[in-house]
Symmetry: C2
DNA sequence: AGAGAATTTTATCCTTGATAAAATTTTATC
DNA sequence: GATAAAATTTTATCAAGGATAAAATTCTCT
């Protein structure tokens, strides 16, 4: 009962746990929430179902672990990266997200699906709250950088602006994670929302810069993507 | 086989169907998605499970019907209501939502949970798309009213602004539907987001009006929590 | 009233989350 | 190195929930 020991047993457990989480992400990212069931997960990881319970916990805990993974990963990989230009620094959240999403789509898509699922399930989860608190803080510090550079008037409470950006950012992430659009469209949307929000409290020169950037974003591939995939859904036996 | 007949049979079926949907809403609004299972639903409505399949369809169709209900209800109850003031007209979406949410919380909460669930489930649903397309259109026409009144500069594509407002609006609705905050907080958030977005492209005088309104909104406490955890650096100056 | 159509119910299947108890593997002690 | 104890994995099984076929019932129309 040596608690410190990095024993064979402990190492194997960690390895199995890692495999389980990796497979959970793969299943989630590929087939969405409904594709993640404990039997398939166990089989994919080469263990049996009760082992999942032993190594991770109930299904909710699996999702929680997937969601928690993204936070540590992101915190580790997000450089402090103080850009010279405060606008670029502020936009860094979006640019970084875009890069990460493009590099490891499976990882982030899975994490996002997990988060959205957990958030929907009644209870409050500290992990989920922490993730968005982290995004919110980044947004707010971006705002602060702009304010310090004299680019922002200061008529609107920064917290309120940060909250707005965070809300719309989350929706943009959702759209990507759910497969409504690709990562480029995600970047366009998130960056556009960000610039527009900044415009709301921007000094005149800064505002001109922002509107120019917004015009650039709107570029070629139009939108209309998300809401037009209207495949007629036949209602059975629905006589009106 | 008279299709037109408003026969006893048809009338009873409609009545049962109505009871089923009403009970579905009740179960959803009270216990969230997990509380809505077909057996309980059938029992609550005084029928058996296969009857649900006959009158409505599979579980997904029940959710779809609940979601669809909100659109017809809202379209019916939303007056054309051209306010004298274009700002008020633009904000009408939020004010109307607030009123409806307060009047029939069960109905709207259920519809929202249904929509969010459907949206998460991989497939595209025309009903869901239509609901948010409708919101987006209202937002855009509000913007148009402001533009026609000369309150908006026109540097930012209205569609992009409308999309931003719609995204954040949806998140605010979510928060209310999931019980993260009450209807007053919902109104504050949604209205605040709306005003900030308008600020982004507002003529100077209009912008002053908006920031004043924003300051008014921020008013009294409520709850800090929600999801952001942002500590406000309260900008209190600018009282004018 | 009675034939035939439409609807509801009875009975049952299958998937999936969850867990107790047995079997196995690892650790610690002599 | 053998063996007892502890920890972990597996076998077997339950219960809940979505879904459906087939029987029973109700309604319509002549």
């Amino acid at each position: 009962m040596n608690a410190l020991a990095d024993s064979v047993r402990t190492r194997n457990m960690q390895k199995r746990r890692g495999r389980l989480l990796a497979e959970a992400r793969r299943l989630l990212a590929r087939g969405g929430y409904e594709a993640l069931n404990l039997r398939d997960l166990a089989q994919a990881a080469g263990v049996t179902v009760p082992t999942i319970y032993n190594l991770i916990g109930r299904k909710e805990d699996v999702l929680l672990a997937v969601a928690a993974g993204v936070l540590s990963e992101v915190e580790a990989r997000t450089a402090p990266a103080r850009a010279a230009d405060p606008l670029d620094q502020a936009a860094a959240v979006v640019e970084t997200s875009t890069r990460l999403f493009a590099e490891e789509p499976e990882f982030y898509r899975a994490a996002f699906l997990a988060v959205e699922w957990l958030d929907q399930g009644g209870q409050h989860h500290a992990e989920v709250a922490r993730i968005y608190a982290w995004v919110g803080d980044l947004m707010e510090s971006g705002l602060a950088a702009c304010r310090d550079a004299g680019l922002i008037v200061g008529d609107i409470p920064p917290a309120q602006m940060a909250a707005l950006i965070t809300r719309s950012f989350r929706m943009s992430c959702r759209g990507w994670a759910f497969g409504h659009y690709d990562v480029d469209e995600f970047r366009r949307l998130a960056l556009g929302d960000f610039y527009i929000t900044l415009c709301a409290d921007a000094v005149e020169t800064f505002r001109r810069r922002l509107t120019r950037r917004i015009a650039t974003l709107a570029a070629p591939a139009a939108q209309a993507s998300t809401s037009t995939g209207l495949r007629a859904q036949v209602h059975r036996g629905e006589s009106q």
